[in-house]
Amino acid sequence: MSYIALSEKDKREMLARIGIASTEDLFACLPPAVRLNRPLNLPPALSEPELVRHMEGLAARNTYGDFNSFLGAGVYAHFIPSVVDSLSARTEFVTPYTPYQPEVSQGTLQSIFEYQSLICQLTGLDVANASLYDGAMAAAEAVLMARRVTNRKKILIARSLHPQYRETIRTYTRNIGLTLEEIGFGECGGLLTAELESKLGPDVAGVIVQSPNFFGVVEDLAKFAALAHGHKALFITAVAEAVSLGLLEAPGKLGADIVCGEGQSFGLTPAFGGPYLGFMGCAKDYLRQLPGRIAGITKDVDGKRGFVLTLATREQHIRREKATSNICTNQAWCALRATMFLETLGHDGLREMAAQNLHKARYAADRLSKIPGVKLRFSGAFFNEFVLELPRPAASVTAALQAKSILGGLALRPFYPEMDRALLVCVTEVKTKACIDALAAVLEEVLR
């Protein structure tokens, strides 16, 4: 297949205008010693029907769709309204560039403004950016921001923060002299208050806690925010399951200075890890330290309302090595889908979705913990995920469930070596009662 739009006649005329005999002349600047004098060793070109058949074949090698799956752990299956697919597929949203010429990009810019507004409403903060790569990278940016704002060199990190978020923070902070210290979790599944208190001090730039945390447990954000503020440290809340914000109090109202998280739940498919949607917001005072693009309202020369990218002096193309972040291309189209998703569900729809998650997860936890030998690992209140303690290693149980077309959850030992029999189970609104009952029945059978 070729997407070239020139005929042979066109090429001849163009060569004539340039004044050369062949296109080869245009590559005379390449050193002959390194010129590639053979075709690239790639598979031969496919026509469109062949390409579609080939890619369908690859997709068909995935059997995941055949399973009754209870996997969550930072990536969630939710209903996606069909309008999100059809509207976001419009070429006027898919093919434009970053809206650097605002006069011809008002569609993109207005939707970014709406997105920022929605994130502020959900998180209870004053300002939000236009998106970051994903929840993990957003957590890293939040940590870097706390350092910039306070000029301090230590960050306290909940061990119940998503393992990948912690790894990413480690990678991003390794070379810039930031010390990271973990705070453990207790029997309730929440952050250990005493440990936090003992580690807070005048050298702490920020404390980052996820809620609901990796185990699904909802944290006492107000208490931890107050402790952090008592030492003039910033309090960062990470949210991996964004739908929880429909029901749970906004972290900004509980004392969070920065909220970061993953917006994949808002209209993006699990898609084997991406593209996802990092979101981030902060209190008004820190606006100029917020990384990422930001859209703002203004007027044109005729007094008409319009939207522009603003505060660009924070960014790499102006501030270069002193920029708040090196981010340039972000996840704009994903943020657009999230905007469409949130505006379609609307206030009541999002709250109803969140409520269904809560009730279905509680129903599942209730049924599963009644199976002999199975109990809830943590006593803390949870949203749509919970950890079961099984009578034998979770990995062997999940293998047995898989043989019966069920993916019962995520065994936690690879992430928490002391939790050999722990299984993280996620139940969203897409799980019917029948699916949940099937899990309970098969799990009971497997454990007998």
């Binding site: 690239l40 790639l42 496919l46 011809v104 709406e114 409403q121 929840g135 749970l248 949940i436």
Partner: protein, 485 residues
């Protein structure tokens, strides 16, 4: 065109645009106990489906886009986004796959990743690739972290990174995030790397040279092999910013030119759509010496099946969750498979032809700061128009909008004042190129005869020139409910 309100301005309580099935399990009694709940989401909108659809359909109509016309943004490589790629990226088999799924249930996804890595190795002339970085800037950061990790393992990470003053802003920004200080080398009179200057500045404290090739002027650094020698002789590494790969595909390979680490942009060279600002993907390719440091996990083929290897003690760790922007990889792989070896080579051949056609047609109409041969892009500037009538590149850009063309890049590279950086890519037709050339000539004439019409441009867009000063002085970045008097 109707002015489109914000969704909050048409919102009203009680409207619904999406219904969920009824809850089919009993409500848990006291479910909210112990939870900090909110009574409502203040100001969150409520609209009907029809209003939602009209809202976004009308918003879309305010956007210029690639499928409407020419988008000659230099270094952005705005080439046609094939629709078949959208189709295959929407396949349910790819979309439903959970990234924590047992590996035997997602073999198709793992194969996509491995196949794309292999193709990119061949195209770039390198030994291994990671597809984890989400965009070019993250690729640069990853690449520089690899450099640092390698040098650290050798015993000394070194202190600074060299780069030309024509570099894209993400280059110094990424180097800084790695703990390196940035040292700029002034370009020579031809806008290229000054070999003597490089030789003088290259020493045991310099970790790497970050180079874009062709550079941001569209000029190929033909001394590249000598540049690599100078850097390597002092134990440093050569990083190449592959944003301009569109000029090189199938003609020359970065690995063959002495490049040790390279990032490419799938949303540039490999046709994945720009989406108004992402998602992109910034894969990083490396020579064998850097392979042990790549981000985890690595996709491997073991016998007949694919797996993930997390046992990588020298890895720099993760730069984000999971494996990267997977659906973007699907589109890029489909593109490479559709083009095949001849098609890949034709990209560079025609991209460079199209750009030189524009260059030849506009020489003399607009000023060219540098004489050297240019490849896939050319940087004119506003000198003639500025000297004659005080018309700037911004005015020219805004006037192009009136003619239905997206302006070229104007704020970059920093070494050309008043730049007009034009990159047509290989997918433009001759008719569209000729239309653009004619329009640019018309605007040059207008600049001379009726400069006022440029100063006030655009005249025919949805909104006219916007007050960016006010937006920065008094930033309003979210909707606020108007206070009732």
């Amino acid at each position: 065109m109707i002015r489109e309100p914000l969704i909050f301005e048409i919102s009203d309580k009680g409207k619904r645009a999406f219904g969920l099935p009824k809850l089919d399990v009993p409500e848990a009694a006291g479910a909210l106990a112990g939870l900090p709940v909110r009574a409502e989401i203040e100001d969150f909108p409520q609209v009907s489906e029809v209003e939602l659809v009209r809202h976004f359909t009308r918003l879309s109509q305010q956007n210029y886009c690639l499928d409407v016309g020419f988008y000659p943004l230099g270094s952005c490589t705005m080439k046609y986004n094939p629709k078949v790629n959208e189709k295959v990226a929407a396949l349910p088999g790819f979309n439903s796959a959970h990234p924590y799924a047992p590996l035997d249930t997602v073999q198709g996804c793992l194969e996509v990743i491995k196949r794309l890595e292999d193709c990119l190795c061949e195209i770039a002339g390198l030994d291994a690739f990671t597809l984890q970085p989400s965009a070019g800037a993250q690729g640069e950061l990853t690449g520089m972290m690899l450099v640092r990790a390698y040098l650290e393992k050798q015993g000394n990470p070194r202190k600074s990174v060299l780069m030309p003053d024509s570099a894209h802003g993400t280059n110094p920004s990424s180097a800084h995030l790695c703990g390196y200080t940035v040292q700029e080398i002034k370009s020579n009179a031809r806008g290229m790397v000054d070999l003597e200057e490089l030789d003088r500045r290259m020493n045991g404290d310099v970790a790497a040279l970050m180079l874009t090739n062709p550079n941001t002027l569209g000029v190929f650094e033909s001394d590249i092999c000598r540049i690599a020698e100078i850097v390597h002789a002092k134990g440093g590494l050569l990083y190449m910013d592959g944003a301009n790969m569109n000029a090189l595909t199938g003609m020359v390979r970065p690995g063959d030119m002495g490049v040790d680490v390279l990032h490419i942009n799938l949303h540039k060279t490999f046709s994945t759509p720009h989406g108004g600002g992402g998602p992109g993907s910034g894969p990083v390719g490396v020579k064998r010496i850097l392979e042990p440091f790549l981000p985890v996990p690595i996709v491997e083929k073991n016998g007949g099946s694919f797996g993930l290897n997390f046992a990588r003690p020298d890895s720099i760790g993760r730069v984000r969750g999971f494996y990267g922007n997977f659906l973007v990889m699907v589109k890029a792989l489909a593109y490479i498979l559709a083009l095949g070896p001849q098609g890949m080579r034709e990209i560079a051949e025609v991209a460079v032809l199209n750009s030189n056609y524009i260059r030849k047609s506009l020489e003399g109409v607009y000023h060219l700061q540098y004489d050297d041969a240019t490849m896939h892009e050319v940087v004119f500037d506003d000198k003639f128009q500025k000297d004659a009538r005080g018309i700037t590149n911004l005015d020219i850009a805004k006037r192009l909008i009136d003619y239905g063309v997206h302006p070229p890049t104007i704020s970059f590279p920093l070494i050309v004042h008043g730049a007009l950086m034009i990159e047509p890519t290989e997918t433009e037709s001759k008719r569209d190129l000729d239309d653009f050339i004619a329009t640019m000539k018309t605007i040059a004439r207008e600049a001379e005869e009726t400069p006022g019409v440029l100063k006030d441009a655009p005249h025919h867009s949805y909104v006219r020139r916007l007050d960016e000063t006010a937006a920065a002085r008094n930033p309003i970045v979210k909707w606020e409910r108007p206070k009732t008097p």
